[in-house]
């Protein structure tokens, strides 16, 4: 009813249930594929065993050429960021993600950014808002999958692919989810996470994607120099006057941020610590900022020297500073229901520690190489060992450990695909998920009773009765032709539903009956049709009649119509009746448009599906 719009709450039970159900279904799909892969693994091992027991003499011993071990720096980065991606995927499981992420995280991240950044973020928000369940589940599996591939594929093409995938998905999240890390916004600061945690994920992904031969002291130097320059730049930004960081209790930027973070839903002990630091900062803002500026600058300069001793000392200070900022300012980053990552400090620590390890050339302990046939290497399933003397097919000679790793990598890739495919499908689907309409309006009331008859006139003044429409499915609703809010939206939903019906459109007639005691002549129904572009819709009727005839129809269909005083819009029930070809009401739907275009578009899909059911029963 106009004036009583229903709004979707972040934890709407319908959407949350759909989210959990979709996750469960996708988990089952992943499980099914894992079972198939396990069967394949077992079959291969059985073939190998039979060959081994049946033809001992003919089995050529595999000859392996050991490769050098994976550089420790790369391994640290790969495993560390693999775990971060897994953590982020698990955070995406929070119930508030489908509906809460756009309003609580995506849009606020762009609030202080220029209009063009807001436009870019709006694109992502629209996509997510229209397909909240698909988007949220996709984010879960994509991130879990990327993390899993990073962890289980230590070497070779798939490992490097995981790095590229992490960079690609990370860039998408950085642009649409973090509004470019807020670097174009006011108040951007290293303390708050600039240039965005996910950009660090992208950087780490790009480093993992490098050939292993690139990992050495030279790469370590380059990373440390870049990190050093970044720290110095952040020190300059932090010291810049007029940005509120030198200011304390009255509107100080840092104090305000800490105050906001302390209000996040979190354990009491943690919020107490943050509040205490907030009070300290408010009272000593100048000294705190000076300390931060000096520390950032000193760390940056030490990193730039790339002298191991200086870097080691600076690294310990930097770790301490990052951890302190992570707890006291960033509030661990992931609390509050829609936190999607632990923010920037831990990833940053991981990057400069890895760079230090690369610089100092710490080597991994030499391990016994696994044996991989050349054919397998050429197929791209691994490259840490080769078997130049293979004469038998690769599946006959592949080592058990290697086979396990390949299957684990394929499994992780399946997880990535389970996330990527629905996300790609959602991004090209202009119609919103019908679950939104169910969340706003509830499920339809299914009945099978004769629909009340009516005898009214169409836009041209010609008589129309329900009997005249027998043989076609009727979608009947009630609209106020001079309504300023809901009715135009509902009319557009009907129009969109018609376009979604395709060939079945000719079997459906969309009918609205005037729901306004005063503005009810055909002049108004015609004006409404022109306004909404319905005057060219073949199967659209906007019916009206005498006040007594209209009142009778309203009463028979349970529609309350009220004329309010003092400039109020005429209020009426938002309902639609789906009447089958026999003239029986089959479904009764609420047509409350909800909040925003996503739920409206969602209702069109929902209505089209309901009409499809009625047409084909």
């Amino acid at each position: 009813m106009p004036g009583m719009s229903t709004y979707l709450q972040t934890k709407n039970p319908v959407v949350v249930a759909a989210f959990h159900t979709a996750l469960l279904h996708q988990l089952l799909l992943i499980g099914f594929i894992l079972v198939l892969l396990s069967i394949a693994w077992n079959a291969l091992r059985t073939v190998q065993y039979r060959r081994l027991t049946g033809d001992q003499a003919g089995r050529a011993a595999p000859i392996g050429v050991p490769l050098p071990p994976e550089p420790v720096a790369r391994r640290a980065l790969r495993i560390g960021f693999g775990l971060f991606w897994i953590l982020d995927g698990l955070l995406q499981l929070q119930s508030a993600m489908p509906l809460g992420l756009p309003t609580s995280a995506l849009e606020p991240s762009a609030n202080s950014s220029p209009a063009w950044v807001q436009d870019v973020v709006h694109f992502g928000v629209t996509l997510w808002t229209r397909h909240p369940v698909q988007a949220a589940t996709s984010a879960v599996w994509l991130q879990l999958g990327i993390g899993a591939v990073l962890l289980v594929a230590p070497r070779g093409r798939w490992s490097r692919f995981a790095g590229l995938a992490a960079t690609g998905w990370g860039l998408i999240v950085w642009v649409f989810g973090e509004a470019f890390g807020g670097i174009f916004g006011h108040g951007s600061s290293w303390l708050f996470g600039a240039p965005g945690a996910v950009l660090l994920y992208c950087l780490a992904g790009a480093l993992v994607a490098l050939p292993e031969s690139a990992w050495g002291p030279r790469l370590g130097k380059r990373i440390l120099q870049a990190t050093g320059v970044f720290f110095v730049a952040m020190a300059i930004l932090q010291s810049w006057p007029g940005r509120g960081f030198w200011q304390g209790s009255r509107g100080g930027t840092l104090a305000t941020m800490i105050r906001q973070m302390a209000q996040t839903s979190q354990p009491h002990e943690l919020s107490s610590i943050i509040r205490a630091f907030g009070r300290f900062e408010a009272a000593n803002a100048w000294e705190v900022n000076l300390s931060v500026v000096l520390l950032l600058a000193a760390i940056g300069l030490a990193f730039c020297t790339t002298r191991p001793r200086a870097v080691r000392g600076a690294m310990f200070v930097a770790v301490a500073l990052c951890v302190a900022d992570w707890i006291l300012v960033q509030d661990l980053g992931f609390l509050g229901g829609v936190g999607t990552d632990p923010n920037s400090m831990l990833p940053m620590v991981l990057i400069f520690v890895s760079a230090y390890l690369a610089l100092t050339g710490v080597e991994a302990p030499v391990r016994v190489p696994s044996l991989v046939p050349a054919a397998a290497t050429q197929a791209g399933v691994g490259s840490d060992t080769i078997d130049p003397g293979a004469e038998r097919p690769w599946w006959d000679r592949v080592a058990s450990g290697y086979l396990t790793r390949v299957l684990a990598t394929i499994s992780a890739l399946v997880v990535v695909l389970v996330g990527a495919v629905p996300m790609a499908s959602a991004s090209v689907n202009p119609n919103a998920d019908p679950i939104l309409a169910v969340a706003v309006d509830g499920t339809p009331n299914t009945v099978d009773v004769p629909a009340p008859s009516f005898d009214l006139v169409n836009q041209e003044g010609r008589p129309v009765t329900l009997g005249d429409l027998r043989g076609r499915t009727v979608a009947l609703t009630f609209l106020d032709p001079v309504c300023t809010s809901d009715c135009p939206l509902i009319a557009q939903e009907f129009r969109n539903a018609d376009s979604l019906l395709n060939a079945d459109s000719s079997r459906v007639v969309f009918v609205a009956v005037v729901a306004n005691e005063i503005y009810r002549s055909t002049a108004f129904t015609k004006a409404f049709d022109r306004q909404e572009g319905l005057d060219h819709m073949r199967n659209w009727l906007f019916l009206t009649g005498s006040l007594s005839a209209l009142k009778a129809v309203w009463e028979h269909y349970g529609i309350a119509v009220q004329i309010g005083p003092a400039g109020a819009m005429a209020a009426h029930s938002d309902l639609a009746y789906l009447i089958d070809a026999r003239g029986h009401t089959r479904e009764v739907l609420s047509t409350e448009p909800g909040n925003g275009s996503a739920s409206s578009s969602s209702f069109s899909v929902y209505l089209a599906a309901a009409l499809d059911r009625v047409v084909h029963t």
Partner: protein
């Protein structure tokens, strides 16, 4: 080959000097000033209209900071009852604004400005000073000016809609069927229009004998854009201003027909400090004009009112928010400053006998104050609580 630096400096200086001097030159005597840039003065929809049978007032009420909870109200004060009554026409959300036009026969035509998804304007016509209403519509969005509709005593209607910088529609009989009378571009290309340098159309009025009248903005300095339909074409009946106003563009802010007398409130000057001139047509076809009323620099008009003799009352605010009230002392007279009206005054009306009433609003409360001229004090006459339904437009 490079020019010596001194030559370059001298040439540059000469160019700058020439440019500066040309900007300061004085036109030769007798030169006809060409069109000057258009200026527009915002005229709020809050307005009053007095006829020989009563006064009609349009004011915004509710939560004025929230457009969806701002509801426009229509009040009438029939001379017979001497009391203000709420008569807002029902059935349409009026958050976009309300315009009204009364006539001498107790008819009131009210028009709803479009808002949210509504892009045409419903109308409501009362033949009994708002006691009952019958519906109508304009197939377009009414212009957001106080005189966007007009009703004549012989049952004709005019509507000014926003399309194409302004388009005038005419209806005879039922206000649901309209025909196009003229639009801005047609008028601008006519001889009458070109003499004015027609800008946006700003007001319409309708008289049973004179026919359709229209007010516009004029780019041509000193020309007042009042046009009258005559035999299928339009002629400019607005005068040419003299004095300081002769060199400035003009804008017709209000245009009303009062029993054969046409009243117009015209702005001239520049946007930051416009002057207002009240005009009234006389029997010999000329115009009686008031002295210019200068508005405070940076101030703005809050409301305008028409008194039954064709004079105007203007409520304006200074940049600091304080209110100024000016009453035109009859057609062709001067402007008289009145005591500042009570807090919350939204519009001002001139009631029979020249009594000035301030109509104040506070969310849902409408209060009628009356000015005692000898003492310069305002006394409260009565108040009405308007049953506004917040949230009823969404």
């Amino acid at each position: 080959m490079r020019a010596p630096r001194a030559v370059v400096v001298l040439a540059g200086g000469a160019l700058v000097a020439t440019t500066a001097l040309s900007g300061c030159s004085t036109p030769s005597p007798g030169a006809i000033p060409g069109p000057v840039p258009l200026f527009t003065v915002k005229v709020p929809l809050s307005a009053t209209f007095a006829t020989s049978t009563g006064v009609v007032a349009v004011v915004a009420m509710g939560t004025l900071s929230d457009p969806l909870n701002t509801f426009w109200q229509l009040f009438v004060r029939p001379d017979a009852t001497s009391r203000w009554t709420l008569v807002t026409p029902p059935g349409v959300a009026d958050n976009g604004g309300l315009v009204a036009s009364p006539n001498e026969g107790a008819s009131v035509l009210a028009g709803f400005e479009p808002s949210q998804a509504l892009d045409f304007s419903p109308l409501a016509l009362s033949r009994a000073e708002g006691a009952s209403w019958s519906p109508g519509l304009v197939p377009g969005a009414l212009a957001a000016v106080p005189d966007a509709v007009a009703v004549s005593s012989d049952g004709g209607f005019l509507a000014l809609v926003r399309a194409d910088g302004g388009e005038v529609l005419r209806s005879a009989g039922r206000p649901t069927v309209w025909s196009k009378l003229v639009n801005r571009s047609t008028l601008a290309s006519s001889p009458a229009g070109s003499s004015c340098g027609v800008g946006p159309l700003t007001a319409v009025a309708l008289d049973a004998t004179r026919g359709a009248l229209m007010g516009t903005t004029c780019r041509s300095p000193g020309v007042v854009g009042i046009f009258q339909a005559a035999g299928g074409s339009w002629s400019r009946v607005g005068p040419r201003l003299s004095g300081l106003a002769a060199s400035a563009p003009t804008q017709v802010l209000r245009l009303v027909d009062l029993n054969g007398t046409v009243g117009a409130l015209v702005a001239t000057g520049d946007r930051s400090s416009p002057s207002l001139i009240g005009m009234a047509s006389t029997a010999d076809g000329t115009w009686a004009r008031s002295a210019p009323l200068s508005l405070a620099t940076g101030g703005h008009i809050v409301s305008t009112g028409v008194e039954s003799g064709g004079g105007f009352v203007v409520l304006a605010s200074r940049p600091n928010g304080s209110m100024l009230l000016h009453l035109e002392t009859g057609p062709g007279g001067g402007w008289k400053s009145l005591p500042a009206p009570p807090r919350g005054t939204a519009t001002v009306a001139v009631e029979p006998g020249g009594v000035v009433a301030a109509l104040a609003v506070a969310t849902t409360r409408f209060t009628d104050w009356r000015l005692d001229v000898p003492t310069g004090t305002w006394s409260k006459v009565g108040s009405i609580t308007v049953p506004i339904q917040s949230g009823s437009s969404s």
